[in-house]
Each structure stands twice: as C-alpha cells, then as structure tokens.
C-alpha cells in the first residue's frame, strides 16, 4: 500500500542524507521525497511517499523516528488528508494542437505559464493521480518535458504537525 509520511526534522546539514541513506541501506522503497524549511527556520518538513506492506511501513516509520534529527512524524495516509503535487509540463504546441491543449488546460484547471510559437509550459497542481491523468490526456508525442515536485500533504482538521 502507498503511504505518504510527513516528517519534521531539525534543519541541520545532512539531515536529508540521513533519510535518503536510511532508505537505501535498509532496502525500502521510496517513490518521492520533498523537503523544505518551515515557518520555524530551525525545522524542515519532509514528505515522503513509500510503498510496502503494513509491517514494512511500520518498520520504516520506526526507523525514521529513530533518527536523532527527527522531531515528529505523521503517516498522513492513516487519516483524512489533502495531498498536492505541482507539475510543469512543456508541450509541443504547433498551430493545429494549440486549441486542444488550451482546452485540456482549462478542464484540468491548469495554467499556461509560458508561451512560444511552438510550445506551452503548463502548470498544474493537484493530487498525484490528477497529474498522471493530465499526462495521459495530452495527445501522444506532444510532451517535451515533465517536471514534478513530488507530493506534499497535510492532515484535514484543526490538528497540525507542529511542535
């Protein structure tokens, strides 16, 4: 099963490599990993997406918690949560395809953020599945480049993952 795990880490040099090293050393799957500072500059927040059976994911969470730099951890998949990922797609937009691509952009509530005579860059935010769907919807052969941020997430309701 797919799990999306949020981790608050001390904003120390090397904290990210401790997490990455843990996954490679113990052979855990890692689909994506994003990290950035929070409103508290001493803390970084990491979101990672992993897959595995219940025992493996339980062990992953324990091992993450065991890292000295880990302050708090929450498995967002265990409760109601919102997941968002940002994607930019560069597409070939020749004359005959421009309208179709604009329509797709509207349907997905995406934005065209760069235009040339022959290309668009489309920005799209949403759950990862929605981004997958957009990529599938673009007519074959038009995609030049895809860049995705990896998912981030937040739990619903008033409780927050903070100190």
């Amino acid at each position: 099963m797919r799990h999306i795990i949020a981790v608050l880490l001390e904003n120390e040099a090397g904290a990210l490599s401790r997490v990455a090293g843990l996954f490679s050393a113990r052979g855990y799957n890692i689909e994506s990993l994003t990290v950035a500072p929070t409103d508290d500059p001493t803390l970084s927040r990491m979101t990672l997406v992993t897959t595995g059976n219940d025992e493996v994911v339980e062990q992953i969470k324990k091992q993450l918690n065991k890292l000295i730099d880990t302050v708090k951890l929450l498995d967002l998949s265990e409760g109601p949560h919102i997941e968002r990922e940002m994607m930019m797609v560069k597409v070939r937009a020749e004359r005959q395809d421009r309208e179709e691509l604009k329509r797709l952009t509207e349907i997905f509530r995406a934005k065209i953020i760069d235009v040339t005579d022959t290309s668009y860059v489309v920005e799209l935010t949403g759950a990862s599945k929605k981004l997958d769907a957009f990529i599938d919807a673009v007519p074959e052969g038009l995609i030049i480049e895809v860049v995705r941020s990896g998912p981030t997430g937040i739990a619903r309701g008033e409780k927050g993952l903070s100190l």
Partner: protein
C-alpha cells in the same frame, strides 16, 4: 574546571570537555588534523592517552573499555586514513550497541570539499554505522556538541557517535569563553525510560498461563544494567532461560535454570526449548538471523513478549504479541513486582513437566566431544582456561571457532566479562578490546582468546601492550586454519579448502618475545594446565600462549543456515543417537 569565563581554544575545549565528562582514557593516534588537540592534551596533562598502533585498535580498545565498564569509550584519530581505519571499529560498536565517542580530525573548513590532503567525508562514510554524527564548523558549537555526543552515545539504545572537528576549529590562537553544559535537552531525542504498565500486565497474564515458557535474553540486558533484575525474575518464575552470544553472563551461566546459549552453535536444550515454547519472553535481544535460524520455523508455538529500549528493534524480524518499550532494568523490575503480586504461593515447582522435558534434552549432552586423541582439543583448552582462572576472567575474543568454543565452555557468572564482536563479527577485535578491559581493571585477570588468523589482524597491538605494560594473557587456539571458514568448506563445499589455510604462520613465541613479551608454545594436552597456571602466575607480564590444537575439530551443535531450531546437527560423537 568549567567555571564560566575561562577562555579556551577549540583544542583546549576538546580536552577540557573530555575531563568534564569524566573520561578516564582516550585511545588514539595523532596526525596532521588533530595536532592542535594533541598539543592541548600534552600541555593540559590530566587525561590519560593510550597510543595504539593502528586506528582500528583505538576504536576496538575504546569499545572493550566500554563493554567492561559500562562507561563511554573515547577515541581520537586524525582525518582521512585515521578516520577510515577507525570505521571497522565504529561499525563493530554500532552493531553491538556500544557507547562510544569518536573524535576525528578534519581538514580546515575552507578546504572541505576540495580533495585536500588526508581529506575524506567522515560524516558521510560513518553515517550508516553510527548512532549519530556531527561536523563541528564553529568553535562556539564545540562544547555543546561534545556534550550531546556523550548524551546520545550513553542513553536509550547506546551506540557510537562521531564528532568530526576541522583543524581550524581547534586553532590555538582563537579563544572563547568555555562553559560545559551539565544538562542537555534535545527536542528530537527523548529515549523511553519506563515501560507501559498495561503492556507489562499483559505480559504477566501470558507468563502466568504459560505451560512451556522460556526467557530469551540478549546484550540489551548487559547494556541496560538489568542483570540483577533479570536474575531475580528468572528465579521468581522458575522458568528456564537461554541467552544470545551477546547476553552471556547477564544471568550466571552456572545457574541450574540456564540452558546455555541458543542459536547456530547453541545447545540442544536451548534450541529445542525455543522450538517447543508456548510463551517466549525476549529481553534486550534482537532476533538476529544467527539466533532465529529459518524465520518460518522460529518458535512456531509461541506467543512472544519482547522488551527492548529501541522500538525499531521490536517486530523487525519476528512478529511480537506483547511489545514493551522501555529500559530493560526498569521494565524487569515492574514485571517482577506485578508477577509476584499475582503468582500463586504454592510450593509446587512451576512448570515441572516442562522441566522434565528439558532434562531429556539435556541428557543428550550436546557439547560432548572426543578428547581421546593425542592432540589438544580446543574445547579442552577452554575448559582448562576456565579451571585455571576460576571463571573470573574478563575474556575478550576474536571471531571464529575459538569464539564459539569460549561461549560454550567458559560459563560466565557475571555480566561484562565476555567481550566479543557479536553483530559485525570483526576478526582482530580481541587483542585491542582486551587492552581496553585491562586498562579499566588493572588488577583483574584479562585474557584474549583468539585464532591464528584473527590475531594477525591486529597483531601490531603487541607494541601497545608493551608500552603500557598490560599483563594480558593471550590464548591462541592455533589450528593453522581459518577454522570457521574451514568448517563451512568441509560441510558445504565438499572439503575444498579454498584459501582458508593460514600458510607461513610466524613463530608466535619469537614474535611475542620480539615485542618484549613472554611467549609459550603448548602442544600436548598433558602440558596445558601447568603451562596455563604458569602463564597466569606471571601477574605483571603479558604472556602469549600459542596452543597447537586439533586442526580438524568443528563447532557443534550447529544449525545449518536455512534450518530451524529443531534441525540441529550434533557432533559425530553423537552419531549413534536418534534425536527427537
């Protein structure tokens, strides 16, 4: 002392922090990046430094000191090769959860990343084999980082912590006010102390209903100072107990309730009890593959209670029914109290039928060996060692057959007496670890049991032993082979002894003498006891006993990899017996 306002350089801070931490010995080796620190050490005095002959030995000696005393081991090495040489010792300590602080020199901060002379990414290289590590980039962070390193190394599940210190951070010309923080709090690190009482009650329920219970205990009991509590609990319950290699001595091995070590070379009765048990009480043990055998066959009838300070250790390899996270000593004390409140006061011996079954297994006499030939059997050598030393040794071991024979034939009655590399299995560990133990306890009898292959991996430490006049006794079980490799090749590779014969061995007597020690060569069983008594009578000398043993002897019982506890192989001297 550390009164506020004293101005110290980074190098002086390192030394003063170690003094304030109560450090007795630093095991180290100087080099370019730590020269400022060594100069401060020289000027300050007040801290005993032991000069090893290779950085691997610095880490092993600090580790041996830590295992023997329960205190934190400390070593100091230079950047680059100093640090990489120490890595084997750091990994050894990590695998066995030994508290250690390793100070490594680093090239000056402006040079980091430039492939400078003797530069290596020490933090990167050691990351997977430390509990935590630090790179100190500012002298203002030095004292608090060293305090944190000791705090992390010693608390929770202990382990090695590396502090990497660039040379400019120790600049003798830059002085700052020094204050050593007594208390340290880290919001990201809060080890658990007490176990959850609800969980402990569940454990008591299981224990009271058990028909075939067994304690399975490990190094965590020794590390967590839980020996007294465990021994009391074992006696109060009347249950049998087995131990891992790392836990030997936590409960007296001569206790009638002790079944011997379990696992790959464990006793028949211990492994059969594991296979038949209905309630397994695991304490400070980690279900290592050398202990469990094939995991599908592991304790097939048991409900499992697991007490450990590290939550990540629980349910890692084996599913657990009652997990209890907490300090072993504290949890065992609670467990004993709750058990005694509820246990019946009848005079019936508890689980008598279970003990009757165990008596049958014991009658197999699984450690029996054929000692009739003219050669010295390694088992006999260990038995003689036990007899001569009254079981009172601090015994450091290298890795291989001799290690298993020691675990089987030298029953330790106290914790911290058996000092060996269990998890990593590091050949070369024994001699430097014995140095650490001997320095910690100058009056105690300290020995190193080793093999002809292992001893050569840190043989340079004979010089250190001479320099500090360490009266260690080395017992070399010399079979001319890498015995354990040879055994596996005999059993699983049709006796193709690929590179396991140690050709061109030195004359160990002359070798020892060349370092200023006493060397002895013993070849006949009838000479062994007298020779050992003579060796141990030389109380202030390092004595190297080169004991020529039967080169074909194997370690039994054995659970072949991929087999279960009930599928043990006994020695050929048992071949006439049908086993259950």
């Amino acid at each position: 002392m550390s009164e506020a306002g004293v101005e110290l350089s980074g190098a002086e801070i390192v030394i003063q922090a170690l003094i304030d931490e109560g450090v007795e010995y630093v095991f180290g080796y100087p080099g370019g990046a730590v020269l400022h620190i060594y100069d401060a050490l020289f000027k300050r005095g007040a801290l005993k430094h032991i000069l090893v002959r290779h950085e691997q030995a610095a880490a092993h000696a600090a580790d041996g000191y830590a295992r023997a005393t329960g205190k934190c081991g400390v070593c100091l090495v230079t950047s680059g090769p100093g640090a990489t040489n120490a890595v084997t010792g750091i990994a050894t300590a990590y695998m066995d959860s030994i508290p250690m602080v390793v100070l490594t020199g680093q090239v000056p901060t402006p040079f980091i990343g430039s492939d400078a002379f003797q530069e290596v990414d020490t933090v990167g290289i050691t990351r997977p084999c430390v509990k935590h590590n630090f790179l100190v980039k500012d002298v203002k962070d030095l004292a608090v980082t060293i305090r944190k390193a000791f705090f992390i190394a010693m608390t929770g599940r202990p382990g090695p912590v590396v502090v990497d210190i660039p040379k400019d951070v120790t600049d003798p010309n830059i002085k700052i006010p020094y204050v050593y923080p007594r208390e340290i709090r880290m919001r990201s690190y809060n080890p658990v102390e007490k176990g959850h009482l609800g969980q402990i009650k569940k454990a008591v329920d299981l224990m009271l209903a058990a028909k075939r219970p067994v304690f399975y205990t490990g190094g965590g009991v020794v590390l967590g100072e839980g020996s007294a509590q465990l021994t009391e609990l074992v006696h109060a319950t009347g249950f049998p107990i087995t131990s891992t290699l790392m836990g030997l001595g936590a409960v007296p091995m001569t206790d009638p309730q002790f079944l011997g070590m379990l696992g790959m070379h464990g006793t028949y009765e211990a492994n059969m009890a594991m296979h038949e048990t209905d309630v397994l009480i695991a304490v400070g043990a980690r279900f290592d593959d050398r202990v469990t055998g094939k995991i599908e066959h592991f304790c097939p009838h048991a409900q499992i209670i697991h007490i450990d300070v590290d939550p990540a250790s629980i349910a890692k390899n084996v599913k657990v029914d009652v997990p209890i996270v907490g300090q072993v000593a504290s949890v065992l004390a609670d467990l004993l109290r709750l058990y005694q409140e509820r246990a019946s006061k009848s005079s019936e011996p508890p689980v008598a039928q279970w003990w009757a079954k165990i008596a049958e297994w014991r009658a197999v006499n699984c450690l029996k060996y054929d000692g009739s030939g003219p050669a010295i059997k390694p088992q006999y050598a260990v038995e003689t060692l036990y007899k001569v030393t009254n079981g009172e040794l601090y015994l450091a071991s290298d890795v291989g057959q001799h290690q298993m024979f020691a675990a089987q034939f030298y029953p330790f009655d106290k914790p911290r007496r058996w000092i060996n590399s269990g998890g990593l299995g590091t050949m070369g560990y024994g001699l430097p670890a014995a140095m650490g133990a001997q320095l910690a306890f100058p009056e105690a009898q300290v020995a190193c049991i080793t093999g002809d292959a292992s001893i050569l991996m840190c043989i340079q430490e004979l010089a250190t032993c001479q320099q500090y006049q360490l009266p260690i006794k080395v017992l070399l079980l010399n079979n001319g082979y890498m015995g354990m490799v040879r055994q596996w090749q005999e059993l699983f590779y049709e006796s193709r002894y690929s590179h396991s014969y140690v050709d061109a061995l030195p004359d160990f007597v002359k070798l020892s003498e060349s370092f200023g020690h006493v060397g002895m060569r013993i070849e006949r069983p009838e000479d062994l006891e007298d020779a050992m008594r003579e060796a141990f009578a030389m109380k202030d000398r390092f004595v190297f006993m080169d004991v020529i043993v039967d080169p074909t002897e194997n370690v039994y019982p054995m659970i072949v990899a991929g087999k279960g506890h009930h599928e043990m192989q006994l020695s050929p001297s048992h071949s006439d017996r049908e086993l259950a």
